[in-house]
């Protein structure tokens, strides 16, 4: 009714073809020119995959790894946080008390006797990583995970630790790694103190 409403629709007009355009020839020639330009440019956008690997961003969520601490022990304290957080139920931990008589383990209460992740069931959401209070489990940028059997794809503790060794060796640490600023549980307990640290201490407190 109002002028405003009727003016909202714009009708497009077909462009008028000239004599040459009606022959289609200029369009064909320009199309051919585009084809030839790309053909002689010699800059392929594809990548020769097995020889040239793609640059994976450091925040990629690939295969898991279990981190080691400075003494080479598994950093995991078997708190079951990741197993609880996991939406796909792919993590299975069996905890064991740390061998108290071994001086190597004297600062730890628990450690994972077994730690298995079913890589086929995992959905690579990264929630285990978020849940971990000691940054023991991390998702790496390893993307080419293959195997011949399902059994092979269930990673145990040794396999996960070896993923850590491999990724550390190649220098491809995940961007989320908090090296040095770890949660309180992973820090070496001050001598003479027993029991859990007081709340509010440290970054993750």
């Amino acid at each position: 009714m109002s002028n405003k409403k009727t003016k909202t629709v714009k009708w497009g007009e077909e462009p008028k073809l000239g004599m040459l355009d009606a022959l289609y020839l200029p369009a064909i020639v320009s199309g051919l020119a585009t084809a030839v330009r790309h053909a002689v440019s010699g800059k392929p956008t594809t990548r020769q995959y097995p020889e040239v690997e793609p640059e994976i961003p450091p925040n990629y969520r690939g295969v898991h790894r279990l981190n080691r601490d400075e003494q080479g022990r598994v950093k995991c304290v078997a708190c079951y946080m990741c197993q609880t957080a996991c939406p796909a139920n792919c993590i299975e931990i069996i905890a064991a008390p740390a061998p108290k008589d071994d001086p190597h383990w004297k600062d730890r209460d628990k450690y994972p006797a077994t730690f298995t992740i079913d890589e086929l069931r995992c959905i690579y959401c990264g929630m285990c990583e978020e849940a971990c209070p000691v940054d023991a489990i991390e998702l790496t940028s390893v993307y080419d995970l293959t195997g011949l059997t399902r059994k092979e794809m269930v990673f145990d503790k040794e396999k996960l630790l070896s993923v850590f060794d491999e990724t550390v060796k190649t220098g491809k640490d995940p961007v989320r790694t908090n090296r040095g600023t770890l949660g309180p549980a992973s820090e070496e307990a001050p001598t003479g103190r027993q029991g859990p640290p007081p709340p509010g201490r440290g970054k993750h407190g």
């Binding site: 022959l23 064909i28 199309g31 051919l32 084809a35 030839v36 790309h38 440019s41 800059k43 594809t46």
Partner: protein
């Protein structure tokens, strides 16, 4: 009985061996060419699309074609339950046979017009109906496709075959009409004579005298080979695979080889009829005494092969430059565009030749039909637009009266 046959053979041997040798050359080269044209096409397509293309098998992927051929030879022979078996096997053979048979009269190297004896780059030299026979035979290849589509007993194959048949019949007409002008200028149906008529200088090439005929010929020839932008018979998006949906393994290869043989034929014809064939400034015609030497023959062969490969490359590049036609557009282009243009062009050529007018007027006969066609089209469009607007006014007034 056998003895007379052998005697006959020995007696005819001097005439027989050049023919057999030429047949052997064609039979040896064409499948090889088909194999490597797929490779070149893949490579060219890859470059156009900013890819690398096949590069794993052999240096630069050169053995890829061999690997493909080997793979397809070793494939399982699948015969679907619902096909008409005899026709199903007949179709690919028919397709390749007609495609190869058309090569009989096609010179694939310099051939002198005054043929006497010995090896020549043609199976049947000095055939006076050369080009006519070639077009007649190559249009038989519609049978291979339509029999294949029918025998497959599958509606997609059938649609592909029907489309192909319609396309063949439609484009056969402008193809023939555009060639008639060339034939009239040369005064012969013999391909060697047509090339010889262009061999005086580079300005004798038919492209300069009959550019419109070249345009019409090349367009219809593309349609005849079922190449993009005219590959309606096998367009994947609508028809799965068209007439060769049910074919696999070696039977599919025969269809494929036939298609590539057609491309070779068409490229040769374009080079021979419009680009002077083996003639090139500096190389004497093989019909003259000094041009009959082996060196000039081989040079002529090289020139022809170069021209043909340029046409083949153009056909392959066109595939990535143009979108596919819709079917009614395809038919419209042939019946409403190319056939009238070719007819008018032919009449012009006939007038110029029969009245012995200067040869330069041939160019006018090429340009004039285009201008006439453009103006008639604009007039038609304008009158249609006027009609439409009158109609819309009418319907509007009616609509108002109903209110």
């Amino acid at each position: 009985m056998l003895k007379t046959l052998i005697n006959e053979l020995v007696e005819k041997w001097p005439e027989l061996w050049p023919i057999l040798a030429a047949i052997a050359v064609i039979l040896a080269v064409v499948p090889f060419l088909g194999l490597y044209m797929t490779f070149i096409e893949r490579k060219l397509a890859a470059y156009v699309q900013d890819r690398v293309g096949p590069n794993r098998v052999g240096p630069f992927g050169l053995l890829q074609a061999v690997a493909d051929g080997l793979k397809i030879f070793l494939k399982e022979q699948i015969i679907p339950d619902h096909v008409y078996t005899v026709l199903y096997f007949l179709a690919p053979t028919l397709s390749l046979m007609t495609a190869m048979f058309a090569l009989v009269v096609m010179p694939f190297g310099p051939v002198p017009t005054n043929y006497t004896g010995g090896f020549r780059f043609i199976v049947a030299p000095g055939i006076d109906i050369g080009i006519l026979m070639m077009i007649a035979i190559s249009s038989l290849s519609a049978y291979g496709i339509i029999v294949g589509g029918w025998a497959s007993n599958n509606k997609y194959s059938m649609y592909g075959a029907i489309r192909s048949c319609a396309q063949f019949i439609s484009y056969e007409i402008p193809l023939g009409l555009s060639i008639i002008g060339v034939i009239a200028v040369a005064g012969s149906l013999n391909i060697e004579h047509i090339v010889d008529a262009q061999s005086k200088s580079i300005w004798d090439w038919n492209i300069f005298w009959q550019p419109l005929a070249l345009l019409i010929f090349f367009t219809s020839a593309l349609a005849e080979t079922n190449r993009l932008p005219f590959d309606l018979p096998e367009c994947e998006q609508e028809l799965v695979g068209g007439f060769h949906t049910e074919y696999s393994g070696i039977k599919f290869v025969l269809f494929f080889l036939a298609e590539y043989t057609h491309i070779v034929t068409v490229s040769f014809l374009t080079a021979l009829l419009f680009f002077g064939g083996w003639s090139c400034p500096g190389i004497p015609s093989p019909s003259t005494p000094e041009g009959a030497s082996l060196t000039y023959m081989l040079l002529g062969l090289l020139v022809l092969v170069l021209k043909v490969s340029c046409v083949v490359a153009l056909i392959m590049l066109l595939r990535w430059a143009l979108p596919r036609f819709r079917f009614d557009q395809l038919m419209g282009l042939a019946w409403k565009g190319l056939i009238p243009l070719a007819l008018v062009n032919l009449i012009g050529v006939a007038i110029v030749l029969s009245l012995d007018l200067p040869k330069h007027l041939l160019v006018v006969t090429a340009v004039l039909p285009v201008i006439a066609a453009y103006y008639s089209a604009t007039q038609f469009n304008a009158s249609m637009a006027k009609l439409n607007s009158e109609r819309s006014v009418l319907s509007k007034s009616r609509a108002m009266s109903y209110e």
